[in-house]
Symmetry: C2
Subunit: 351 residues, 2 copies
Amino acid sequence: MYNARAYSAASATSPLASTTVARRDPTEHDVQIEILFCGICHSDLHQVRSEWSGIRTVYPCVPGHEIVGRVTGVGPAVTKFKPGDIAAVGCMVDSDGTCPECRAGLEQFCPNMVLTYNSPDKHLGGVTYGGYSDSVVVDERFVLRVPSNLNLAGAAPLLCAGITTYSPVRRWGVTKGRKVGVVGLGGLGHMGVKFAHALGAHVVVFTHSLNKKEDAFRFGADEVVVSRNADEMKKHTGSFDFILDTVSAEHDINAYIQLLRRDGNITLVGAPGKPLAVSAFGLLLGRRNLSGSLIGGIPETQEMLDFCGAHHIIADVEIIPIQKVNEAYERLLKSDVKYRFSIDMASLKSE
Amino acid sequence: MYNARAYSAASATSPLASTTVARRDPTEHDVQIEILFCGICHSDLHQVRSEWSGIRTVYPCVPGHEIVGRVTGVGPAVTKFKPGDIAAVGCMVDSDGTCPECRAGLEQFCPNMVLTYNSPDKHLGGVTYGGYSDSVVVDERFVLRVPSNLNLAGAAPLLCAGITTYSPVRRWGVTKGRKVGVVGLGGLGHMGVKFAHALGAHVVVFTHSLNKKEDAFRFGADEVVVSRNADEMKKHTGSFDFILDTVSAEHDINAYIQLLRRDGNITLVGAPGKPLAVSAFGLLLGRRNLSGSLIGGIPETQEMLDFCGAHHIIADVEIIPIQKVNEAYERLLKSDVKYRFSIDMASLKSE
């Protein structure tokens, strides 16, 4: 056991502050990683502030599940990694490995899955601590390889924002010849646009206002539609094969369901706090589908990272020192980030 | 042109009453049918009483789209039918035949589809008149063959209640080894149970009360769950491959979404007037799907009828004379029918 530097929250109303947390020494199958960058996901903020009903936050809470770093040690049974390798960890650090979900490579649905932070830690007791830290120890099954051509600050958000959008985009057959919508151009949405574009689809971005229009085109959008403009929306009625809805604020999903063609699918990856009001007629007429998607399994996460390597895809990030994390949270609440914060963990050394 | 006897409503508040309506003489591709039985669908009542926002009812209105009868005449180009054949007509009587939906055999999504009643009639002007009548003339493309072993009174409801439930049950892969739920045991639900059972699935019926329990087992249910009983519902969490939701009254769909396993689908065939409150978390966790389905195309309707012939499936009907149609509507509002009314059109001769 050793102490790692970290930033933690002491309560739902405390700012994040410098601390140390215990990490286990690598066991047989473990990989020890010096964290270089960690993305800030909106989930971090929700969890730290205990805003999710039904999921109790245990304090101190060290958030962070978009982790990239350098391997500093491996257990004797580790085969995939050696010290010096660049490695990544996402939202999960363990699962039972034996249930049907695990066997299907869909560890995110394993009933015994362990989240990267705020999940019971079977090694040290207490809960798991996330990536706002200089070091982490993770079972190699949950450690990913990062293609060498990717910028590491921009690669960190791939571990959540990336896989969360990549998985449904692949699942619903986004490819050349398909018309694909992306609702919302934030941390998730901008990744969705990049993936759908890289896969050859015709990509339409729906946004509240036009101030992100140029960025949308830069990410690969073919069209940008202002969602408030009913006439502009109407032109697209019944024309989309797939829509990725990344908005977690309340919004009228029926306006997007109408835009799907027959058998089209709209998948939610954001989770609005209040139930969505869904008109049954919108689903009946056109035999349309509304789905949800939750990150992705480990095999698909590796596939996504390899895809990003092949297509030179990273997130657009604003790199911040850990000392600015509380300020970053406030800006996140105002959607004032293009398009993900990535914490440079070197800044933690000066604490 | 000739006069057919019929029952029509003169306004949204008028009872249905005896009348005559003009029918065209069979043109080249038309089949003339003496109607023997016509099922009563809840849609008939909604349309007659002008209860659907966005769909204006034109009066006089002759409802009825669950039609079986005997061919009395055919146009010179008709190849599929000859006088004396037993034939059926469902919710549609025409479509453009050239659009992608028609070419896919999904005429129900054709932008130029003509409903069996209350749709513009391109032959005679005005609107189409439905099956509460002693005769109808329909393009042979929209006339179905009825297997000779089926009781005709019980076969009539197959044309709407049957295909509406058969189509999603087939589309979502209901078969042996799958666990399938049917929510609501009315005209649609009881057909859903029969189809899912005939396809070999393990069928669970969800109902408000237990007074239909014996019927549910008779239709092929393996289990009956009282949906008010939270404990009983909870036992089925995460276990269903597919759920057919036939309830058009307001209800908590999240309680059923929770029962789906990973990648499970719940399909709506009833259309609640108010939007459904759908929790995004229920869809995200388990990557579940909520869909709609709308009747079925002509090829699938014929497939369904042939399936019913092979499996000896008909609707459970209460046969009434047309003179009792207004009373039947009142009973329909109280769900006081087991499980579909079928009008014996011979009764119209005595008007």
